[in-house]
């Protein structure tokens, strides 16, 4: 199937290249202008620790790939009908496999107050910086922790999106009939905490594609007193699986599933002083475990964040955020947690700090992003240097440095996965 898919993608790329040869990249047919762009990417991430996960993929390199991105887009003369295709053809040097992936592929139709977008699309909501509360759409945390470019953190959903714009209110409704989970770091390439590591027999089932199982996400937004204010509602699933053992204390099999979730929230963002203030909150209603007594399913929780960003000096910006997750039904959680499992605090606090400095007419960018949790006592530090060698060619060098007092906390469990990455990108 994968090879088959790769050959289809290759065929698209080849036919696109022949089109490219016939016409200038930015022109095309006047009635339906077609644009062809993309990039070549080399992305290599090496572990800095000597310990490697067992197995074929646990080598010195956590990630290594060469990749061709092809981006086709076009629209009609009036511009109300458009399409976008973004696909990657890549060679995974760790497994030595060639494969392809369609990142985005959609049709967009706009008319007066309506936009309809059909197909695979990336949707990003909320005001957090690498912290997501009302952005309930799938993410690739494995890519993020592997030193891949930031755009790979977001995964597309096969969905229909309707945008309605009125002078009083804007609404975005996303209907997702095909469930897409988060891509989490797996045991092939990462060390992490797994309380049931001794049970390799696992059966993971995604919600079936039926009309009753479709996900709905709604965002309403408008300006209120010079602020951008949004309200959100979501009905769908946790994107990280829960596992239920067939028996305790000695399970032989784990059944994995995605419990139902509803999220209700709000966000606001505005200029404040010389900087920018961001506030976001959400209530996660864990619908399959409302009383919090099922240890396999995450409890309902409140999440909120407040962030402030300001330029401190020329081309030097500081951003800081405070984020918290508060479990409801904490006593039920504690009472039903199986023995031997690490106990989570009622409130998980997280602080982030981002420093960004541009140099030499923005051909150099030095940045530092830091997650630190005072309650979990763990951290992730991401220093990065980006340099535009020319308009088309750029080089990025960075690192993911995990730290933690305990191997069971969210970031602390990745302590042995520190890595250094290099990304070379050529745009066309």
């Amino acid at each position: 199937m994968q090879v088959h898919f790769a050959s289809i993608l290759l065929a698209v790329l080849v036919s696109a290249s022949s089109l490219l040869a016939q016409s200038a990249p930015t022109s095309g047919n006047k009635k339906f202008p077609l644009r062809i762009h993309g990039f070549l990417l080399g992305n290599y991430t090496a572990r800095t620790a000597d310990a490697h996960p067992p197995g074929e993929e646990g080598g010195r390199f956590l990630w290594a790939d060469e990749r061709l991105r092809l981006e086709l887009s076009g629209d009609t003369a009036k511009g109300n009908l458009s399409f976008l295709f973004k696909g990657d053809l890549f060679h995974d040097a760790v497994t030595n496999k060639v494969d392809g992936v369609v990142r985005e592929a959609y049709l967009n139709y706009s008319r007066a107050r309506f936009d309809v977008r059909l197909g695979r699309q990336i949707v990003t909501w909320g005001v957090g910086d690498l912290l997501f509360i009302n952005d309930v759409f799938p993410k690739d945390w494995s890519a993020f922790f592997s030193g891949r470019p930031l755009e790979y953190l977001k995964l597309g959903v096969d969905a229909a999106k309707l945008h309605v714009a009125t002078p009083a209110l804007n609404a975005e409704l996303v209907v997702v009939p095909f469930f897409e989970p988060d891509n989490l770091p797996g045991p092939e390439r990462f060390f992490f905490f797994d309380p049931l590591a001794d049970v390799p027999n696992r059966l993971l089932r995604e919600p079936a594609t039926t009309s009753g199982n479709s996900e709905f996400a709604l965002r309403l937004y408008r300006r209120v007193f010079k602020s951008d204010v949004s309200l959100y509602a979501y009905r769908g699933y946790w994107r990280q699986p829960s596992f239920r053992p067939d028996q305790l204390p000695l399970p032989t099999q784990l059944r994995g599933f995605y419990p139902r979730l509803a999220v209700y929230g709000a966000s606001g963002q505005r200029n404040l002083g010389d900087g920018l203030l961001s506030v976001e909150a959400g209530y996660y209603d864990s619908q399959d475990d409302r009383r919090g007594t099922d240890p396999a399913i995450s409890n309902s929780q409140f999440r909120f964040l407040v962030g402030y960003q300001q330029q401190l000096a020329n081309e030097f910006t500081l951003g800081a955020q405070y984020y918290a997750e508060v479990l409801t039904d904490y006593s039920a959680y504690k009472a039903t947690l199986p023995s031997g499992f690490p106990v989570q605090d009622r409130t998980r606090h997280l602080l982030t700090l981002r420093l960004t400095k541009f140099l030499k007419y923005q051909t150099w960018k030095l940045s530092l992003f830091n997650f630190y949790s005072p309650s979990d006592q763990d951290a992730l530090l991401i220093p990065e240097v980006w340099h535009a060698i020319t308009d088309r060619l750029s080089l990025t060098v960075g690192a993911n440095v995990f730290a933690g007092r305990r191997p069971t906390t969210f970031l602390g469990q990745f302590d042995r996965n520190d890595n250094v990455y290099v990304v070379l990108r050529f745009d066309f």
Binding site: K78, I122, Q311, Y361, A388, T390, D427
Partner: protein, 273 residues
């Protein structure tokens, strides 16, 4: 004195009307410095009710290495108080292609700015106090692109002279809040007849010349004076940026609703091509 108080009462957006109204006598020599600067701002940043232009920016280092940015700029003047909206779509280079940028300018309050990153489908607001930051890595600051509030500086008419055969005012502008900017003062050479800004010199905190703006090609488009080629040169490090307005049209009928998050995320094909 009368004129200066008049200026305070009349919103900037109506200044152009005032300028061309036949019953207002146009004795340029009698204008106070502040009003000369206000009229220059009108000519440079406010012509027409709206504007659509394709811009090419050449960023050239001292050694001669060159970078290019190409973008479409849409601008609309609102009827009140010098308010404006800007919408910018980047065509190149590749790493910013498809990015859009929106400014809501409502003097004297800080402008609001939004940036859309298509790869992440992410709309981000940009902090308010970065108006002197470089615009897309060029020698122009955000403020050089969308205009600096007249009231932020104290303006003095130094002299009148001729520059390249044109009669000009030479005006010195000193920022009222020196900490908010990267210059200690500016000198501007402004055409006495059409208020075109021909040359501007920026002096750094040590009072040494460091940036020079020149209008390299100025012509009338739809009867409005337009600087179609301009350069900002950093004379201290030899870097310069040349901006060419490739296609300019005024009064094209941009709708207010264009300048919104909806179009930031879904750029309007018919306007940005």
């Amino acid at each position: 004195m009368l004129r200066s108080s008049l200026h305070k009462c009349v919103p900037l957006g109506q200044m152009a009307l005032l300028l061309f109204s036949p019953w207002v006598p146009l004795h340029a020599q009698a204008l106070p410095a502040e009003e000369i600067v206000a009229r220059t701002q009108q000519v440079l940043f406010y012509p027409g009710n709206d504007m659509k232009a394709r811009l090419r920016m050449r960023l050239v280092s001292k050694e001669g290495s060159e970078r290019l940015r190409e973008l479409t700029m849409l601008r609309k003047n609102l009827p009140e108080g010098g308010q404006q909206r800007y919408f910018i779509y980047f065509h190149s280079p590749g790493d910013v292609r498809g990015m859009t940028f929106m400014v809501w300018k409502h003097p004297p309050r800080d402008a609001e700015r939004w940036l859309f990153l298509p790869a992440l489908n992410l709309v981000r607001r940009i902090a308010a106090n970065d108006k002197r930051s470089s615009f897309v890595g060029s020698d122009f600051s955000y403020e050089d692109v969308s205009g600096r509030e007249v009231g932020e500086d104290t303006h003095t008419l130094l002299r009148e002279e001729t520059l390249n055969g044109r009669p000009v005012f030479v005006i010195r502008s000193v920022p009222k809040d020196e900490r908010s900017v990267d210059f200690s003062y500016r000198l501007a050479w402004i055409d006495k007849e059409n208020f075109v800004l021909w040359r501007e010199e920026y002096y750094d905190k040590r009072n040494e010349l460091y940036k020079v703006f020149t209008a390299d090609e100025v012509k009338q488009i739809q009867g409005l004076w337009t600087t179609v080629r301009r350069t900002m040169k950093n004379v201290q490090n030899g870097h310069h940026t040349e901006v060419t307005f490739l296609e300019v049209s005024y009064n094209v009928g941009l709708e207010d609703s264009l300048f919104s998050e909806r179009y930031l995320r879904n750029p309007p094909g018919r306007w940005i091509r």
